[in-house]
């Protein structure tokens, strides 16, 4: 038996033992970021966590999640279930349908559930994951809530694998559960946009993504822009350092040494 074939059969056996669906689910292509994943893309039918890097990055986290949801809806058409805590409506604001449209997610296929407690949110997510007509579910966890732990995440992951519905969890950085059964964990931070010709001076959404956990792959860091027309991430080349060489401290010190 050749080496790639045996790896494939081993993966198959692991999948069965982990009670995950042995049939391969389609993977989501994330452009350059695909390099990080052994499967060649972000797996659907799995649990992914998104963590805003700073306290003000919630909108960036939700934006990144919306982009993933829009892409997943392209692979697997269906409704998206959006579960959020009721009491944070005034603090965080409500998802604005026109803002979702701008990122590529069709609000006509959105179902919003407002729940009071973390356990209710997890219940709604599990219900949604059991339903094959859904495309994905996303849950925004309340800040100080301990109901989401390893067991809860494991339940979500298994249910996601069974029906192929993708689960996204948006949680705070301060959330106590660091060890969960999630497939990946993303840290998202907003970045100043680059003014483009077709957009105004504020530019398109731009984030610094950090894949801090990846069960089947290697963590990494990227700076991305979202292209809502093609539903794909762009990887703008970092700006060339055009500062004159003599302005750098190292050059100065070398100059000083030489002289």
């Amino acid at each position: 038996m050749s080496a790639p074939g045996s790896i494939e059969s081993l993966r198959h056996r692991i999948a069965i033992q982990e009670r995950l669906s042995p049939s391969r689910r389609p993977v989501l292509s994330l452009g350059e970021m695909n390099m990080a994943f052994a499967d060649g893309g972000l797996s659907t039918g799995a649990l992914h966590e998104i963590v805003p890097a700073r306290s003000g990055d919630l909108a960036a986290g939700i934006g990144f999640a919306t982009c993933l949801l829009a892409s997943i809806a392209g692979l697997r058409p269906g409704f998206t279930l959006w579960v959020l805590p009721m009491d944070r409506k005034f603090r965080d604001g409500t998802p604005c349908p026109n803002g979702l449209t701008a990122l590529g997610l069709d609000p006509a296929r959105l179902i919003r559930v407002e729940a009071r407690k973390g356990t209710d949110i997890l219940w709604a997510l599990e219900e949604g994951l059991a339903h094959p007509a859904l495309s994905a579910v996303i849950g925004v966890l309340p800040g100080r809530d301990r109901s989401y732990d390893f067991t809860a995440s494991r339940r979500l992951a298994m249910r996601a694998a069974r029906q192929g519905v993708t689960a996204l969890i948006l949680r705070d950085k301060t959330h106590p559960a660091m060890s969960t059964a999630a497939e990946t964990r993303w840290s998202v931070a907003a970045m100043p946009g680059v003014p483009a010709q077709h957009a105004g001076p504020v530019g398109t959404p731009r984030w610094r993504l950090e894949l801090t956990k990846c069960r089947k792959g290697t963590p990494g860091k990227w700076e991305v822009e979202w292209d809502h027309e093609t539903l794909s991430f762009r990887f703008p080349a970092p700006l060339a350092d055009r500062t004159p060489a003599w302005a750098h401290g190292s050059y100065n010190s070398r100059w000083a040494k030489a002289s």
Partner: protein, 488 residues
């Protein structure tokens, strides 16, 4: 013991118990008079609204005897028992059972069965015996000796009649009708005719009659959740069969469990599409039995599941391998129903575009139980945002939050602003997008000033949607800054 009410003319007794009645107290006495007779009289305040509620509750409990019941405030309940009595061993048997049950609740009830509503009303209140059955032939003889008050007349009319020496209902029956009508109006004669059955009277029961009802009675009171679940399962199957035959599906259902001590518990249920899937309905109901189980008390004796609102639902060929997995709205109906039954219809919602340029009015979240079709959001965005892609934020604050902002020139975007005690320095700004108020809206609270919206970005890369409420060069405007949303 007496119940009292306080009015402008002082405190009066409205109701008494038997002991107080024997001591000579009467309803209508002032409390001072009563205290003069017996200083130790115990009193409590009357609660007419509570009485009404309890009466309606009891009337609904009586639905275990007949589907058509109503409360007759202040002190009565009427049942239309046409075609029901034989289920309880005839009229006498039914009355005996009811009387025993009611006295078991600690109520002293007077019952009467008569061919007309008026006659039953009068006999129940004024017949010499507490349980009276009157048939068509005996109606005249039974009613004649009753006081005129038994004809459902106002106290003033009764007094006027008594002054004329017309004390018994029989006195009125033999009198010429024209002078009575001239003196007391047509109402008196109508009451007399309806009581005697010469004129029709319609019976308006509590709640609309429902056509699809499944019922079951238990041999022994049911206390456990398991027992209730088995009953619910049977009821949903019966109801589903009924709906299937009629080609209907239920949108709203009501499960009612009758407790052995005269109370009942109601569990309303709404579904997002017409359904008659017994398994689905059973699941939805059983999920919410917690509250009912806690209040089982001595147990439930009967259960009824009624389809309150039904819609046409043509019969469907079930797929051979079970239901098909498509992505239509009907497929997610079971999920929506489960979510609605747990979180309430107002907390499971879908966005609906609204024709307004004011950002917070441009959309609305409506319950999934409402049918809204598939709205065209891209078209809505084209109209409302004038084609701009990122003109609306991802997260919108409702209401907008006030901020303190410093702008370089009065009508330029802010250079710095402070929101939630955190300073932000604006590095890039875009705008303004001017949104004029909807002057045709006259209600209170509608914004009356023009807003200038700016998209700004701070040093950290966070993008905000700020607006200045009011214009500097317009008289009467006092411009203030607000944050309305955050961009991704």
């Amino acid at each position: 013991m007496a119940l009292i009410t306080t009015s402008e003319s002082g405190q009066h007794i409205t109701a008494l118990n038997t002991a107080a009645h024997h001591m000579g107290f009467r309803p209508g006495m002032t409390l001072a008079d009563a205290r003069a007779i017996h200083p130790a009289l115990q009193t409590a305040h009357a609660d007419p609204a509570g009485d009404d509620r309890a009466l309606i509750g009891l009337a609904l409990w009586c639905q275990s005897y007949s589907p058509f019941t109503r409360s007759d405030p202040p002190d009565g309940i009427s049942l239309d028992i046409t075609g029901c009595a034989h289920l309880f061993g005839g009229e006498a048997g039914m009355m005996e059972k009811m009387s025993r049950r009611l006295s078991g609740f600690g109520l002293s009830a007077r019952l009467a069965i008569a061919p007309t509503i008026g006659a039953a009303w009068g006999l129940a209140r004024h017949a010499p015996d507490p349980c009276h059955i009157s048939h068509q032939q005996e109606l005249h003889a039974d009613l004649a000796p009753l006081p005129v008050a038994a004809l459902r007349l106002s106290p003033e009319t009764c007094q006027a009649l008594e002054k004329l020496g017309l004390k018994r209902a029989g006195d009125l029956m033999d009198k010429p009708r024209a002078p009575l009508a001239a003196r007391f109006g047509p109402r008196l004669l109508r009451r007399l005719d309806t009581a005697m059955g010469h004129e029709e009277e319609s019976f308006i029961p509590l709640g609309p009659p429902v056509s699809h009802v499944a019922e079951c009675r238990f041999a022994e009171p049911v206390i456990t959740r398991k027992g209730i679940e088995i009953a619910v399962e049977r009821l949903t199957h019966d109801l589903a069969d009924m709906l299937e035959k009629a080609g209907k599906g239920a949108r709203r259902l009501e499960l009612r469990l009758f407790r052995i001590d005269g109370w009942f518990e109601t569990l309303p249920l709404a579904t997002s599409t017409a359904t008659r899937d017994p398994r689905h309905l059973c699941h939805l109901l059983c999920e919410r039995l917690d509250r009912i189980e806690q209040r089982a008390g001595f147990g439930f004796e009967a259960a009824r599941l009624s389809a309150v609102l039904i819609e046409d639902k043509p019969a469907q060929q079930e797929d051979m391998d079970g239901p098909m997995h498509g992505s239509g709205r009907d497929d997610i109906a079971p999920l929506l129903d489960r979510l609605v039954s747990r979180f309430g219809p107002d907390h499971v919602t879908r966005p609906l575009p609204c024709p307004s340029h004011i950002p917070e009015r441009a959309f609305r979240f409506v319950s999934v139980l409402e049918k809204i079709g598939t709205p065209d959001w891209p078209a809505h965005a084209r109209i409302v945002q004038d084609g701009a892609d990122f003109a609306r934020p991802l997260l919108l604050f409702a209401p907008p939050e006030p901020i303190t902002a410093i702008a370089e020139a009065p009508d330029s975007p802010p250079a710095r602003f402070e929101w939630r005690r955190e300073p932000h320095r604006v590095t890039r700004a875009e705008g303004p997008e001017r949104i004029a108020p909807e002057w045709w809206r006259v209600h209170e609270g509608a914004s009356r000033t023009t807003r200038d919206y700016y998209r700004v970005e701070d040093e950290a890369g966070h993008r905000f949607w700020l607006f200045r409420d009011g214009l500097y060069d317009r008289a009467g405007d006092a411009p203030r800054w607000f944050i309305h949303g955050i961009f991704a």
